[in-house]
């Protein structure tokens, strides 16, 4: 087993393809035949995306290597891409290789993606891999197959039309030749004429001829065997000879952004003098430690005495919504009307029924089980980083900020998988910057891993959101008015380590204890505010953004799995349900009646009906059959989406009215992501999206004092546990006539709405603030019993 461990020789990475193969061969990589077609060089490898050789290498041993910058985050995309390619090339999955991945002797894969090898098709995010890059992979496969058949025709003296292919072996006229024999690692030198081909789009293989794509359980995930035997090489397992272990030293949670709560005022280096070999690294306001032994570095980071600047400008727990309303009252939050159709105020006035509500959703964190890790080896003329970033190419660009005078062509990033990502790009960039800073300062390779509190406390959180919404229906249950106002902040794109270096690196200076200047806020969610409803085009519809500026203190925020969807669906799905109840209609029937009638509307109807059918849905008016007793049950439905796919979920829940605890008993989730390549793999993604969505809806909240985030571990940021995990029934609405869409996020969007609507069905009470913790549930029930309306922030 030791032979499979990636012991990297520093020399092997300096220059040239031969050295690369030698270096990675030590790690057990099956890279034979690769070097001649895609030789990485220290000048950087910038392939021409129109050339098939930039995407695919046909190796001499008749294996096929696909090279894209998309990475594996446990979503199975490496399997999915190779399955698409194998389908077009008529090869077997056992022949397929991904990027620079390392293959164990039993054939299982360890993902490696090297910026000096792959085509740059951008990072992974927004469920864009199969939808955006899948058609390019298919086009490359189609082009390669045609070129290979042409070569085979010449070699075998048989016309192309008389050739057949199986497992990458071409047969015709009683003779055979393999792809590997035809090309043997050399270039095909063929241009891709149609850059993207959708499934079945000529000249791609007709869908009717598919062997594995869309077929259940014909292809299993290639990364799973190594993951269950313990041989999988995560970025955490990478070792470089002579490397030191590093840790960052920061408060255990971030303060207000733009920072200056996180500036060291005084550092007592003698406080770690008892730890052998531990050394403090301070560059600007960045503070870290290094040591030869990992546990020494951990202890040094813990024990180093630092006095931090205290800048208590955060609103503190429980005050966030009032803070937003106060800023608005003082005129510090602008009002931006986005979409507007019809006369909303008039339509509300003349509506048969009007409902309204305010819905608040707290900050949440990505919080993977394994904190981010990066190994950096910074030399005078080049740098190599091993990282679990979702975007290898952008990381190279970002690192030029901290590694100047090195330029992008002198920086190489090797992706190794980390722990689940969920859009956690900021932390991966932050750790890479930190490792680079530590390596540059010490002149040695440094392995930096975040501690739990660094990961929990320093991510760019899913932003908090406060929505005020009003909507009206006519006497027949048709929505006639929709008026949405959302307070939300924008994302921040500078990463903490670089920020701490100071103004020389493009970060704002942070020395004075002042209220930071405003940073532009975010926009109201356009994706999850019932755009599928007829009211948007035909009625009166208004979307207003209240971009919350940073003045007065907010956190770093960014994209988290299905960005903005949960925050918006909390409000939108409940308003839809309130309209259904006001119309005395079944929640499903109300939605179906108000959908657009175009293909988009039909696809929404498809997932709503599929989820309802799986759940054995029987029409009723939500909340019309309230149970008695301490523990009551309810059922709710919602639809919502991200990345173009369609998702609907039905949730069955149990509420203990005394303790306030909600248990989600079962979820029926339907998804239409166009042509679904690998149904089992996608059902697993739907499962994960749902369970994580339940966790976010019920318990996840970043808490904070006036100075810092205080959610620093699994006690202070609890996530869903095994005992409370729901049963799950996935339903894939397979649409082979439609392009593939994203599958990593959709069911995480509607679940919060389905739970909230189920809660109303069980109790007759609306939930206005998420997560729905027991304390909040008790408070909502008590307020309803006392007849007090709940409006967050007032």
């Amino acid at each position: 087993m030791t032979g499979l461990l990636p012991e990297f020789s520093r020399k092997s990475f300096i220059k040239g393809s031969g050295a690369l193969v030698a270096g990675v061969s030590v790690a057990g990589a099956g890279l034979a035949g690769k070097a001649s077609a895609a030789a990485p060089t220290s000048a950087g490898y910038l392939p021409d995306l129109t050339q098939v050789d930039s995407w695919i290498t046909i190796n001499a041993d008749n294996t096929i290597t696909l090279k894209t910058s998309k990475i594996e985050v446990g979503n199975g995309i490496t399997t999915g891409f190779l399955q698409v390619l194998a389908e077009e090339l008529d090869t077997d999955m056992s022949q397929m290789r991904y990027g620079s991945s390392i293959y164990d002797t039993n054939g299982s894969m360890n993902t490696v993606v090297d910026t000096w090898v792959v085509t740059n098709v951008g990072g992974e995010g927004g469920s864009n891999a199969m939808s955006g890059t899948g058609p390019s992979v298919r086009a490359a496969g189609v082009t390669a197959r045609a070129a290979l058949l042409s070569l085979a025709s010449t070699r075998l003296g048989v016309p192309v039309s008389s050739l057949t292919v199986s497992k990458g072996v071409v047969s015709g006229g009683g003779k055979t030749v393999s792809y590997g024999e035809l090309v043997g690692g050399k270039r095909l030198n063929v241009a891709i004429t149609t850059p993207k081909l959708q499934p079945g789009q000529s000249p791609a293989k007709p869908i009717a001829n598919y062997r594995t794509v869309t077929k259940r359980d014909t292809v299993l995930r290639i990364d799973i065997p190594a993951k269950v035997t313990g041989t999988y090489t995560y970025v955490h397992n990478v070792r470089v000879p002579g490397m030191l272990h590093g840790r960052v030293v920061r408060p255990h949670g971030q303060g207000a952004y733009p920072y200056n709560s996180n500036v060291p005022v005084r550092i007592d280096e003698s406080s770690i003098s008892h730890i052998p070999g531990a050394k403090v690294v301070r560059v600007g306001n960045f503070v870290g430690v290094v040591a030869a032994r990992e546990y020494d570095a951990i202890q040094a980071a813990q024990e180093l005495k630092v006095v931090w600047n205290d800048n208590p400008i955060l609103p503190g727990n429980g005050n966030l919504w009032k803070h937003y309303r106060d800023l608005d009252a003082k005129g510090q939050i602008p009002t931006r009307i986005g979409t507007q159709t019809g006369n909303v105020d008039a339509a509300l006035k003349s509506a048969a029924h009007v409902v309204s509500g305010s819905f608040a959703h707290h900050y949440q964190g990505h919080t993977p089980i394994g904190p981010a890790c990066c190994i950096a080896d910074v030399q005078a003329d080049h740098a190599t980083l091993w990282s679990n970033t979702q975007n290898v190419e952008n990381l190279v660009t970002d690192l030029t900020n901290v590694l100047s005078p090195l330029t992008a062509s002198q920086i190489r990033v090797l992706f190794y998988e980390g722990s689940g990502s969920f859009g956690n790009g900021a932390v991966m960039f932050d750790t890479a910057e930190a490792a680079a800073i530590l390596s540059k300062a010490t002149g040695k390779p440094v392995r930096l891993q975040f501690m739990r509190w660094d990961e929990q406390g320093w991510t760019h959180y899913a932003p908090a959101s406060l929505v005020d919404v009003r909507a009206g229906v006519d006497a027949s249950g048709n929505i006639v008015a929709y008026d949405w106002t959302q307070f939300v902040q924008g994302g921040t794109s500078i990463y903490t380590s670089r920020e701490l270096l100071g103004s020389a690196n493009g970060a704002p200076a942070a020395t004075a204890n002042t209220i930071p200047s405003a940073v532009a806020g975010g926009n109201a969610n356009t994706e999850n505010t019932s755009p599928w409803m007829k009211v948007k085009a035909a009625g009166a519809y208004r979307l207003t953004s209240k971009p919350v500026p940073s003045s007065g203190g907010i956190f770093h925020s960014g994209a988290m799995r299905a960005p903005g969807a949960q925050q918006a669906t909390l409000a939108d799905a409940q308003i839809m349900d309130m309209l259904a109840v006001a119309s005395n209609m079944d929640s499903l029937a109300f939605r179906l009646q108000n959908l657009n009638t175009d293909l988009d509307g039909q696809r929404w109807a498809g997932v709503l009906q599929a989820a309802a059918q799986a759940a054995g849905w029987k029409p009723w008016v939500a909340g019309s059959k309230l149970g008695t007793g301490t523990v009551v049950t309810g059922r709710g439905i919602a639809n919502s989406h991200h990345g173009g796919s369609y998702a609907a979920s039905v949730a069955d829940i149990e509420v203990n009215k005394k303790t306030g605890k909600i248990v989600v008993k079962h979820v029926y989730a339907a998804q239409d992501a166009g042509l679904t390549v690998n149904p089992n793999l996608v059902e697993n993604q739907m499962l994960g999206s749902t369970v994580q969505g339940v966790s976010r809806a019920l318990s996840e909240e970043i808490r904070f004092s006036k100075s810092y985030v205080t959610s620093s571990d699994w006690v202070t940021y609890p996530i869903l546990r095994f005992k409370d995990s729901p049963g799950f029934t996935p339903v894939i609405v397979q649409r082979i006539d439609q392009p593939s869409l994203g599958s990593g996020e959709p069911p995480t969007c509607p679940i919060i709405g389905a739970i909230a609507n189920a809660f109303y069905d069980a109790t007759g009470v609306r939930l206005h603030e998420a997560p729905f913790t027991p304390a909040r549930v008790r408070s909502a029930l008590a307020a309803a019993a006392a007849g007090h309306p709940v409006v967050p922030g007032t």
């Binding site: 313990g230 089980i369 980390g418 369970v691």
Partner: protein
């Protein structure tokens, strides 16, 4: 102060150099180069670092290496040999423990980072409860966190492994 220690891992005795209070996890990862036990929290809250100590699940991130001296540690890598021993076979170890086979059959992992602890805890459970009920599985597994949301498939896989083990394994 670093000391020379002997620890028994997956049936082999290893000499390692570490201070006595170093958590076992760092010795397993950095000295023995094992990938199974993983750092998650360092606080015994998540279970990513779990190993079996004389057959019982412990959190290696908070267990000082000195505390395991003279006792047997099994990591994820050692589960196939453990299964062979439990069955009393003297032949070469099977490639996979029935739990690992079930994890593949059910296609459990996403990122897989926490799955080490899940399989270790499940091995502990099945060593004492051959045919656990769903409630027993949920209770036994409750101290292990998964962020990708794989709990329902883990539940299926444990039931499947239990059935396979009852029949003597695959």
């Amino acid at each position: 102060m670093a000391s020379k220690l002997k620890i028994k891992v997956n049936g082999l005795v290893h000499s390692v150099t570490a201070s006595l209070d170093t958590p076992l996890l760092y010795v397993l990862h950095n000295e023995l180069h094992l990938h199974g036990p993983r750092f998650g929290c360092g606080l015994a809250q998540c279970g990513a670092c779990s190993v079996l100590l004389d057959g019982k699940e412990i959190r290696s991130c908070v267990t000082p290496v000195a505390a395991v001296s003279g006792r047997g540690i099994t990591t994820l890598e050692g589960l196939p040999a453990l299964w062979a021993k439990e069955r009393g076979t003297t032949a070469a170890s099977p490639a996979l423990h029935p739990l690992q086979q079930a994890w593949i059959d059910v296609q459990v992992p996403h990122c897989g980072y926490c799955q080490n602890g899940m399989m270790i805890q499940a091995a502990d459970l099945l060593s004492t409860t051959k045919n656990p009920t769903e409630d027993q599985i949920r209770t036994a597994m409750n101290g292990h966190l998964c962020r990708c949301g794989t709990y329902p498939r883990i539940l299926t896989a444990i039931k499947q492994a239990a059935a396979a083990m009852a029949k003597g394994g695959k």
